[in-house]
Symmetry: C2
Subunit: 104 residues, 2 copies
């Protein structure tokens, strides 16, 4: 486990519309693309059967997140998310102050 | 949606052993108990069929989190978690710098 103290965590919580055609493919592509961006550290995603989801991604700096936010393919995915897929979303940009793991 | 800028988010990621008898009842009780603590703002939890889970709780201050961490019933749940339920866990204490929602 990378020591994540000092990193930036982006918490993204959403609820999908039902149906949300094309969402799954795009989400998969965005994980692939984000993983190739400078400053990307990791990502963890979970979605309930009711369409609620949590995705947390970790980045080296807010500047790296700004670059990712403005990637053309990501901008297009954000536009489609807003117009076609998400009923609602909430995002938080967080500074990781302490981290601990078990087993250590 | 409460404006969470300036709050502390606790990201707790875990993997349960299989089986984990008594875990579900204790988890439910801990949500109830945490919700009654000073400085508690909210909690969001999700668990996959494979036993992986993410719980995020939001607090007013690190001091409030310290009180919650030391609550006797919570200490006992932490002990059992370590000894009986969790295969692994990772926790991060984060300062929420920016938050945004849709619909606004």
């Amino acid at each position: 486990m990378v020591d994540r103290e000092g990193c930036i965590a982006v918490i993204f919580m959403s609820r999908l519309r039902d149906p949300a055609p094309g969402y799954a493919e795009t989400a998969e592509r965005m994980v692939e693309l984000a993983s190739s961006m400078p400053g990307f550290i990791g990502i963890r995603s979970m979605r309930d059967a009711d369409g609620s989801g949590i995705t947390i991604s970790w980045w080296r700096s807010e500047e790296d997140i700004a670059h990712w936010r403005e990637h053309p393919e990501h901008l297009e995915a954000q536009r489609r998310g807003q117009e076609e897929w998400y009923e609602s979303w909430h995002i938080e940009i967080c500074h990781v102050k302490k981290a601990q793991s078990f087993p250590p």
